[in-house]
């Protein structure tokens, strides 16, 4: 490199004044990038900062290559199934109430009181439709916190996949219900008297609650028809369901 005397003021530097040498320097930079990226193959490592090779391309070609998410990433929600394949959801509306994006829509159905399965004695409601609009969902996880039945979880590790139509983002129970079935000893349907499982198993499963110190309230003789009391004194007529 040869040097020549120049003052500190760039406006008196002949390179800055004639403009062309600086333009050529700039061109050299872009041409270097161009040549490296044109002639040499791109390293497809999704960890962009650790890419090797002459090519300097930093693109992650998305559908084929996906960024590795951090370990804490939980992803989209799902509805948790019971052992019998139905959702654990009891249509309590807590998730729909707490949802800040108001993306959950639940329609509750009532179990037939004459249901042979006997579930009506322990569960009142089930969702006839449970719909989440994935375009509105902000994946905040408040629904998971609110759920008293462990019926909705965020552990899929996925994010919302692409769709061609907006209606494709409205997910219903068949789409949301996935994963292995989950049952807890405290589930009401585990306590039903018609269960074929012997009572001592229930006791064992509840041992963690208090090692048998807690006396389980096993429904012994539930009435066939729950007593229905109509309460009309409030501002709005409210139908109240009472049990036993």
């Amino acid at each position: 490199m040869a040097y020549y005397k120049a003052t500190k003021d760039p406006t008196t530097d002949i390179r800055e004044r004639t403009y062309v040498p600086e333009l050529l320097h700039g061109l050299a930079v872009t041409m270097r990038h161009f040549m490296r990226n044109l002639f040499f193959p791109r390293d497809a490592n999704v960890d962009v900062l650790n890419r090797k090779g002459t090519s300097q391309i930093t693109t992650v070609s998305y559908p084929e290559e996906k960024q590795v998410y951090p370990e804490g990433y939980r992803g989209l929600h799902r509805l948790v199934p019971r052992d019998d394949g139905k959702p654990r959801c009891v249509a309590c509306y807590l998730c729909a109430t707490i949802c800040p994006a108001q993306c959950i829509h639940i329609e509750a159905g009532e179990y037939e009181t004459q249901d042979a399965s006997g579930e009506s004695r322990v569960i009142e409601k089930f969702p006839t439709s449970f719909v989440i609009d994935e375009l509105r969902c902000i994946v905040c996880g408040l629904c998971v916190d609110a759920c008293p039945k462990d019926a909705i979880r965020m552990d899929t590790g996925l994010h919302t996949p692409s769709e061609y139509t907006r209606s494709g983002f409205v997910w219903d129970i068949p789409r949301l219900l996935e994963g292995p079935p989950v049952s807890h000893p405290s589930d009401p349907w585990m306590r039903r008297p018609a269960s074929e499982a012997p009572a001592h198993q229930h006791l064992e499963k509840h041992a963690r609650i208090g090692d048998g110190l807690v006396q389980l309230k096993l429904p012994q003789s539930a009435p066939a028809h729950p007593v229905r009391t109509e309460v009309t004194s409030g501002p709005v007529p409210v139908t109240k369901f009472l049990r036993d």
Partner: protein, 478 residues
């Protein structure tokens, strides 16, 4: 490795071979047309073209040089702009429009080439809207894209894309027309393009479009002065305004095909060719800068200003907008061809031109012509690439900077260049002194580019204090 080999194969085999085939077909069909028309052809509606002694070989040049070479290259440049800009910015660029048979799982992206078809289909089938405010001048609104496109396209008519060679007994040129006024046609027609842009701005009846049109008009008119003046030096040096005469003939040793200092080594002539860039490096720089302003591309894209300020074709949609866009790329190709013909020696390689013309050119004139056309086309392609790289390197000039550059820098420099050229040609009509002056200019530029300013002793010039002031200024400030 596979990618490098593929790219090298495309650059050094496929593209040259395509150009060679195009040139060969152009000369062959031109010869056939010449023969047909000189025999007294008959045409249904264009009977006057078949008058006695007529020569229809220009139709071949029109089809192959303008419709195929210029238009296809301009169309490909629309994708190349995006792809090449991606490479300069460390991105992949468009590659999602893919083609391939249905059973082929992973369709090939072909370097983004299918995007040409996708873009064309999109432009053609998009809704062609017109703002209600533009109802005032429907005809002008419709006419503006045509006026922007047609003059640019017509420029290429006088550019020779190859030498005039003997094809089965007929002299077939590779240009549509070879008028006596040559370059003057380029100036005259190029100045018409400003009507398209300003009409687009005016007929849209929109304030933003109008401002864009006014910016375009002022910029293009300002730079036409420098554009013309920068070429006068070449006209003076070769005493002609006809482009084929500027390029000259290697066999006759005229124009840019001659050697200033040359010798024959083992039958191959080597030396310093009298190319325009050697004789007129300053003129080349001025013309290049002015031609950028004429194409309205960065760093002179203030009429369009696609990223923030809004340009003259704001109100256009569909294929009308597409016409504006493609005319920009056609202008890139045509100006590249013009620079090639005037400053880069046309179809000359620079080494062995005379030996090639006298040997191969005499024995196989059509193949020689195709080879020359290939060299010309490759130079055009290189210049197109260079223009695109420039566009993605330099930031946009401010409006006052554009006017300053055009009127206060390019115009005086052009006058100085013309004076210097005239004086040196008067002193030495063999152009040797002119070439020495040119080499001196090039050497100065290279020296300035390869050196860097010496660091000032003591305090480094680059260091500033916390207030962003230079150290000396800061101490004075305190």
């Amino acid at each position: 490795m596979r990618r490098s080999i593929t790219i090298l194969l495309v650059i050094f085999a496929i593209i040259p071979f395509t150009f060679w085939c195009l040139g060969w077909a152009q000369y062959r069909i031109g010869g056939l047309l010449f023969e047909w028309s000189s025999d007294g052809c008959s045409l249904p509606f264009f009977g006057h073209l078949c008058d006695t002694g007529s020569n229809l070989s220009w139709v071949s040049a029109l089809v192959f040089n303008l419709l195929i070479f210029v238009m296809v290259l301009a169309t490909l440049l629309t994708v190349a702009e995006r792809k090449w800009s991606a490479f300069t910015q460390d991105r992949i660029g468009p590659e999602r429009a893919r083609i391939g048979p249905a059973w082929f799982q992973k369709h090939v992206s072909l370097g983004g080439l299918p995007h040409v078809a996708a873009d064309a289909l999109k432009m053609i089938f998009k809704e062609n809207t017109r703002p209600t405010a533009a109802d005032r001048d429907k005809i002008l609104f419709w006419l503006a894209p045509v006026l922007a496109f047609a003059p640019i396209f017509a420029l290429a008519a006088v550019i020779p894309f190859g030498p005039t060679v003997w094809v089965s007994g007929y002299r077939v040129p590779a240009m549509v027309a070879n008028p006596d006024f040559g370059i003057l046609w380029v100036f005259a027609i190029a100045s018409l393009a400003v009507y398209g842009t300003s009409l687009a701005g005016w007929a849209s009846n929109s304030k933003f479009a109008l401002l864009g049109g006014v910016r375009a008009a002022s910029q293009m008119i300002s730079y036409e002065v420098a554009l013309g003046l920068s070429l006068v030096g070449m006209m003076v040096a070769f005493t002609t305004v006809r482009l084929p005469d500027l390029i000259g003939s290697a066999a006759a040793g005229t124009g840019q095909s001659q050697y200033l200092w040359g010798a024959s080594v083992l039958g191959v002539d080597v030396g310093l060719p009298a190319w325009g860039i050697v004789l007129q490096p300053l003129g080349f720089l001025l013309f290049f800068a002015a031609s950028f302003a004429e194409t309205k591309r960065a760093p002179f894209d203030i009429p369009e200003g696609e990223s923030e300020i809004i340009g003259y074709f704001l109100e256009y949609s569909g294929m009308k907008f597409g016409t504006f866009m493609i005319s920009e790329f056609v202008e890139v190709v045509v100006l590249s061809a013009l620079i090639t013909a005037i400053f880069l020696g046309g179809w000359n390689i620079g080494v062995g031109d005379i030996a090639l013309a006298q040997g191969f050119g005499q024995s196989h004139p059509v193949w020689y012509g195709a080879l020359c056309a290939m060299v010309f086309a490759l130079k055009v392609l290189l210049l197109c690439w260079f223009q695109l790289i420039v566009r993605w390197t330099f930031p946009r000039f401010r409006y006052d900077q554009i006017m300053t550059l055009g009127w206060k820098i390019l115009l005086p420099l052009g006058l100085f260049n013309l004076f210097l050229t005239g004086a040196l040609v008067l002193l030495d009509p063999t152009l040797h002194w002119l070439a020495l002056a040119g080499l001196l200019e090039i050497a100065l530029l290279v020296a300035l580019t390869l050196t860097q300013a010496a660091k000032a002793p003591g305090a480094a010039a680059g260091h500033t204090d916390a207030h962003g002031l230079p150290a000396a200024a800061a101490s004075a400030h305190h």
